[in-house]
């Protein structure tokens, strides 16, 4: 670890000296990109780095912002959580970027959070997450649980008449919190304790035979059963394979996943996954002019016909465009002004309809349920009537029921208790 730190600090020092010698950039607006380009998360996060670069490119072609060109500053936090905080500090103090787009895992966001709050930076976070957070300095453009997990359960309950539930997840903060919310939600809907099975597995789990056999037994009790999966990363491949091998088909026991998208499906054998479900705010296959343009633009930018688009990319796209609109509205890139200008900004979704930034720094977006097809794309089988407003604090957890986030005057608080009328956290 020490060796790593030393190397990192040498690299940092070297980097800084290069930049200070260049020292121009007064006439550009700097956009920081804080996504891992190496390590385990690189597979997912590199795509988002490229998306931001594409957006910066596009904006510059339109003439930049406030008469200035945009300049992307890319750093590599290397899937190393403490390094995320160091790199964020570097972006804000050395590079003096005006905005950061970054993070994927919740733990990396939590590591960056105190830094952006201390230095009053501005960050856009584009990935679905467990909620229970709202910072003045962060805008959350991915889904919170009520924009992904809860609608998915509603769909299973109403359309597929599911009565028994398996909540399967990887053992870390996002699945644990999401499953806690779902469990409370299901119980509130009248599901009995014995009709809910919860199972956690380590990262990269590959021996699924016991768990799949349990799911099979659990589902053989004569009631329609579904699996709600927060299983993360490549552990999904052996999981679905084992389901297929043990003869569990998507008609018997459908699996609805929150971490399986087009990107995860590209390049794997989708055979055993066909018919299983995923819930997102965006699918590449959704027919709309804006989406078609976006997909084409992406393939051209990256120079590969086979590349796919996914939900966090759309979240980055919306976040970036909203920020650009807010900067124009505020007439400055100064953080406090942009932050206030952001609230209420609207921007069209790629899938149709309008996304809106709410007072709690979360988006209103539509929710889709898609069935996995053998080409790795999704067929939408259900969607919410309109947009769903992202909820920073879940209504289904005892600790957060009474909390709201509201960054407009007079409350200006990320965790305001509506009962005691007090703000218990960060105050502006």
């Amino acid at each position: 670890m020490n060796v790593k730190k030393t190397i990192a600090s040498i690299a940092l020092a070297a980097g800084t000296s290069v930049i200070s010698s260049v020292a121009l950039a007064a006439e550009t607006i700097k956009v920081g990109v804080l996504h891992s380009l190496s390590g385990t998360m690189a597979i997912s996060e590199t795509t988002l780095k490229d998306t931001v670069l594409m957006m910066v490119d596009e904006q510059n072609r339109k003439g930049g912002l406030l008469g200035k060109k945009l300049e992307a500053v890319v750093v590599d936090p290397a899937s190393d959580w403490p390094l995320f905080a160091e790199k964020a500090r570097e972006l804000l103090t050395k590079e003096e970027v005006d905005v950061i787009f970054g993070c994927w895992t919740s733990v990396s966001r939590k590591s960056v959070l105190p830094v952006v709050e201390e230095l009053n930076g501005l960050m856009f976070y584009p990935v679905q997450y467990e909620g229970e957070e709202s910072s003045k300095n962060v805008f959350y453009t991915g889904a919170s649980p009520n924009q992904q997990a809860i609608p998915a359960v509603d769909y299973l309950m109403s359309d597929l008449e599911v009565e028994r539930w398996v909540l399967a997840g990887t053992d870390y903060v996002y699945p644990r919190t999401t499953n806690k919310i779902l469990e409370a939600y299901l119980k509130a809907a009248g599901v009995a304790e014995e009709d809910i099975m919860i199972s956690y597995t380590p990262f990269g789990h590959s021996d699924w035979q016991g768990i799949v056999s349990d799911i099979k037994k659990f589902g053989g009790a004569g009631k329609k059963t579904a699996v709600v999966s927060t299983i993360n990363g490549d552990a999904n491949v052996p999981f679905y394979k084992e389901l297929g091998n043990q003869g569990v088909s998507s008609e018997d026991i459908p699996v609805v996943a929150f971490s399986v998208g087009e990107e995860e499906l590209s390049g794997i054998d989708t055979g055993p996954l066909v018919g299983h479900l995923a819930a997102w705010n965006y699918f590449q296959g959704i027919d709309s002019e804006a989406n078609e343009y976006f997909v084409e633009q992406w393939k051209e930018f990256i120079g590969d016909e086979k590349r796919v688009t996914n939900d966090p990319m759309e979240a980055t796209y919306i976040g970036f465009n909203m920020w650009a609109k807010a900067v124009e509205k505020a007439g400055t890139t100064e953080v406090d002004a942009v932050e206030q200008a952001m609230i209420g900004i609207e921007f069209p979704n790629l899938t149709g309809g309008i996304a809106k930034m709410n007072k709690n720094h979360h988006l209103s977006k539509p929710v889709f349920i898609g069935e996995i097809q053998d080409d790795g794309q999704f067929e939408v089988v259900w969607e919410t009537d309109g947009v769903v407003a992202g909820d920073a604090w879940s209504d289904f957890l005892p600790g957060s029921k009474d909390l709201i986030a509201d960054w407009t005057a007079p409350i200006k608080c990320g965790n305001y208790n509506t009962k005691s009328k007090a703000c218990s956290g960060q105050v502006q």
Binding site: L160, D207, G222, K241, P254, G267, E371, V381
Partner: protein, 543 residues
């Protein structure tokens, strides 16, 4: 306009189907109506498609079976221009081969822009499965019949019962006859009000493992309205008997899972048992030898896309050679210079493991590679409704045992084995006797690495093939070898299987995460008590 187009298409489809000798062409009147229904598939919503399938079953019956089957497999497309409905087989090279739905005739190659898929979703798939079950019950093969009856057990409505009775009269035997009798008993229990008849039905159902039987009995026992106490008592007794059998098979299944996990551990550790156990080299690059084997499988599959079924058989010797020669190179290049310096060997091999990982990242990609599972490795061997073993696990278990046996034979019977044992027991003495110890070292290390490569072929079927594959097995491998006793092959075998079984028996009550931890803690305590593992080496060779 629409009506005209529609008519044209109907004519077109009939014409198109005519020369291929499809069943539609033979029964002209049914063909025309089925043809027009078929035509509507090209523009139907998912909901409408469901209705159309119903109509097709009505008009076409068994003749429509191929269509339903193709549709269920998601291979039903239509040509955008002519609206002709065809079946599509995708090739490895992302092209589409079209064939006639009702016949053998191939219609040539298509690009993805020329054709459009007729979409199906879960609801349609289960409808298609039910439809197929109804058709198969009267016309299908024995195994299809069995599947059909099983599917109907969950929904014993009048139509299904009529079909079952018809099938019975048509003459069935063995398993299918038993299932139909079972279905009849279930209906009798449900509908009859006569105690004797219901008791008789329970007698038939007692001890049967089909989930539908258990659910029905459970409902009956739980039903507060049920007045007939004798029936209820009998049902409870039947249920107890079923539960007892399920319990038994559950234990058996657990044991199999444990042995299967044990076989994976054994495979991962067996190469290390040689390099670490016999030679005493702490080889941190062992996991990467496994990874190289898995990548070899991938490369073989890329080289021979037409021979997926045999790819694993080719990959086994290939992986042995690849990993084995890399092992010899490592031994010659690095390890022999570090003899007797375990800490430096550890660091050097750790460095090698990083180099190999990065090499694979650069050559292939940081992404996981898609290794295809051959058909004979997919699916499961169904022994009864509550106990089945998956083929991939079964084969890998057998494979692990075979590798182990082969290795024991090599070490005990071959001259290489004799030399290996001699060198590991007393290097100087062996040298004095004229054994070329350097050569033997290289060969031993190559053998251990090669076996790790072979393990990689098997693991490529169970887990993701990526640069990190080896890392996830290195700890387990050391664990097994240390637990079993360093330098003892039998210890590795027993160690692997007992760790696997312990893990799987803990998993249901503890959860996967905690089970891992408990096994690890237990192992540490065990090593405290017996530092030399299960089967310590004795005699002079021990030190």
């Amino acid at each position: 306009m629409n009506a005209l187009l529609h008519k044209l298409w109907s004519v077109a489809i009939v014409l198109l189907l005519l020369p291929t000798g499809s069943p539609l062409a033979q029964s002209e009147s049914a063909g025309t109506s089925a043809g027009s229904v078929l035509q509507q598939l090209t523009e139907a919503s998912l909901k409408r498609t469901g209705e159309l399938i119903g109509q097709l079953e009505q008009t076409g019956g068994a003749e429509m079976r191929p269509l339903f089957e193709v549709m269920l497999a998601g291979e039903l497309y239509f040509i955008k221009e002519s609206k002709q409905i065809i079946a599509i087989t995708k090739t490895e090279r992302r092209t589409y081969i079209g064939r006639d739905v009702f016949g053998e005739a191939t219609l040539g190659e298509f690009t993805s822009r020329e054709i459009k898929k007729i979409r199906v979703n879960n609801r349609l798939r289960s409808q298609l499965r039910e439809t197929l079950a109804r058709i198969d019950l009267l016309h299908g093969s024995k195994s299809a019949q069995k599947q059909a009856v099983l599917a109907m057990l969950d929904d014993l409505n009048e139509q299904n019962m009529r079909l079952l009775t018809a099938a019975q009269q048509g003459g069935v035997d063995g398993e299918v006859a038993r299932l139909i009798d079972l279905a009849a008993a279930m209906v009798q229990l449900r509908d009859s009000r006569v105690s004797e008849e219901r008791l008789e039905a329970i007698g038939v159902m007692s001890g049967q493992l089909e989930p539908a039987v258990r659910n029905q009995l459970q409902r009956l026992v739980d039903d507060a309205q049920e007045q007939d106490l004798a029936v209820r008592a009998a049902a409870q007794k039947a249920l107890d008997k079923i539960s007892e059998r399920i319990e038994f098979f559950g234990q058996l299944e657990q044991l199999f899972f444990g042995l299967s996990l044990g076989s994976v551990l054994l495979l991962a550790a067996i190469g290390l048992a040689i390099t670490f156990g016999v030679m005493g080299v702490i080889n941190m690059a062992h996991g990467e030898m496994i990874m190289l084997g898995a990548y070899t499988t991938y490369v073989i599959q890329q080289l021979f896309p037409g021979a997926i079924a045999y790819s694993l058989l080719i990959a086994v010797p290939a992986a042995f050679l690849v990993s084995g020669s890399v092992g010899v190179l490592i031994e010659r290049g690095v390890i022999r210079h570090l003899q007797g310096r375990p800490l430096e060997t550890l660091l050097a091999t750790f460095g090698i493991s990083l180099i190999l990982q990065q090499a694979v990242r650069s050559i292939f990609s940081p992404l996981n590679m898609q290794v295809v599972t051959p058909n004979w490795m997919s699916g499961s061997l169904v022994i009864n409704p509550v106990f089945s073993v998956t083929y991939n696990r079964l084969y890998i278990l057998l494979f692990a045992l075979a590798i182990f046996a082969a290795l024991v034979v090599v070490l005990k019977k071959s001259s290489l084995g004799l030399n290996v044992r001699a060198v590991s027991q007393n290097r100087d003495m062996a040298k004095a006797m004229g054994v070329r110890t350097e050569m033997v070292d290289a060969m031993t290390f190559g053998l251990g690495s090669g076996i790790a490569g072979v393990a990689g072929v098997a693991l490529s079927q169970l887990t993701n093939v990526g640069p990190n594959l080896g890392q996830s097995y290195i700890i387990d491998s050391f664990m097994v070898v240390v637990f079993g006793g360093v330098g003892n092959l039998l210890g590795t075998l027993v160690g692997g299987f007992s760790l696997g079984v312990a893990n799987k028996f803990l998993e249901p009550s503890m959860g996967a995460v905690l089970a891992n931890i408990i096994v690890l803690v237990g192992l540490i305590l065990f090593i405290q008590k017996r530092p030399k593992g299960l089967f310590p080496q004795r005699g002079r060779a021990a030190e």
